[in-house]
Amino acid sequence: MILHIDMDAFFASIEQAINPRLKEKPLIVGSRDNRMHTVVCAASYEAKAYGIDSGMSSRDALQLCPNLEFVPAQQGRYIWISEQIFRMLEGYGFSLAYTSIDEFQMDINDSVEPQKFARQIQERIYADFHITASVGIAKNWLLAKLASKLNKPNGIAVLTDTNLTEILDLVAVGKICGVGKKTGQILSDLGVKTCLDLYLKSADFLEQNLGKYGFNLYLSLHSQERFEPAEEESRPKSVGHSYTLPRATQTPGFIRAWVRLLSEMVAQRLRAQNLLADTVHLWLNGPEMGNLGAQKAFHEGSNDGYQIYQRSLKIMAKIGPKMPKVRALGVTCSGLLPNRYLPLFEEQKRREDLLKTIDKINGRFGEGSIYPGIIGLTKRMPRI
């Protein structure tokens, strides 16, 4: 069986554990230290009761609940606590995988009674970290993940061969991981409303209507293989960063500075994994243009932030001479290959040495200790 361990309102619960004054209060964790202009990263269960959830703007959240408590996200502590939970779970000796910063999957064998074991894990997490987790248990990873959502918070749900159809019939199809609004609508139009409706459809039906994704969905739902089969290599398919600005702006220098910062962050991660990327994707979002994304493949792969930035600017130039209002932006690199090339020319060698030195400095003194001057412009939001 697979145990899917999902921390309940992870970031908000940690903040409530740190600060007892916030316990049992509606609380949001914002992606940045700006109460009115940020996005909700996590909401406590008391805030969720007001209809507040992750992804919502903090302004909307405050409208729903004016006495909402606010804490800016402290990434460092969430990462550390997540790693400690992973290490603690590793100690049980079962095969274990991260699925996100606050979700873990464990493949347990018949030597333990699943429900009792899940309760033991919950108690240990609470004792060591003062936060709660919900656990889903099922025959494969997708159903276990679904089960973890059924009895939140601090609950356990087990999907067995005997109760599977009964429970799936009560759950809306949108609860399945990977079924978003668009897919949910397609399925709804086909008369697939519940998870059971989906479960009973054939592989052919799902492939005909949802393509390859539908076929994979069928396999994941019916798989007896406990963990999702590993990809042939653990190399990622893409590396990207995005950011939502406090408000929309059309100041070209400011927007370009953000593109440069995101390009540098992407490049640093590519270099850390010794990868090159030959395709750059730039994504912009604004009140007038909506979502605008374009990508371009280049002959030569790169992991140099300046080059990725220049490539992003080429894509941006297609938008037209006038900079539209931008609220959010993202840079993603794909077409990833191992970096097996040695620099041929003196200028390339110098550039590589420079990048290695920058990485060393940031590795020693912390990320963002040294950066290109243009990035300094991102520190101040322009008035227009």
Binding site: I14, A17, I18, N19, P20, R21, R32, D33, N34, R35, M36, H37, F70, V71, P72, Q75, G76, R77, Y78, I79, W80, I81, S82, E83, S95, A97, Y98, T99, S100, I101, Q105, H130, W141, F227, E228, A230, E231, S234, R235, P236, H241, Y243, L245, P246, L261, M265, R269, N362, G363, R364, F365, G366, E367, G368, S369, Y371, T378, K379, R380, M381
Partner: protein
């Protein structure tokens, strides 16, 4: 294994800084002296001195670590009964700091 390339570190934009405007934190960042009691390999701060005033720690509400380059910060949220503070010990400078007043 599901999502085998996931790393919690890669998910976060750790060096994105603030873009001006309102801030809610009450950062202090001052060096302090701390009296620590060590028990069962764990450090338990009992008292700290800031601006020549002694603050007796009644409760350690949480402990965690943060990394800044090669430096590890051992962070504690501590309550004096009246206020809640975040203090940290640096593995590089071997010194204590009062990071902020939490509430």
């Amino acid at each position: 294994m599901p999502y085998s390339s996931f790393s919690p570190k890669a998910r976060w934009d750790r060096h994105i800084h603030e873009t001006g405007e309102e801030k809610s934190s009450t950062a202090i960042g001052r060096r302090i002296e701390v009296l620590v009691w060590f028990k069962n390999t764990r450090a338990n701060p009992r008292l700290f001195i800031w601006n020549n005033n002694k603050y007796k720690i009644k409760e350690i509400t949480y402990y965690w670590q943060e990394r800044r380059g090669q430096e590890t910060l051992h962070c504690f949220s501590v309550s004096t009964g009246l206020d809640l503070y975040q203090i940290s010990f640096s593995s590089v400078s071997l010194s204590w700091r009062l990071d902020k007043v939490i509430s």
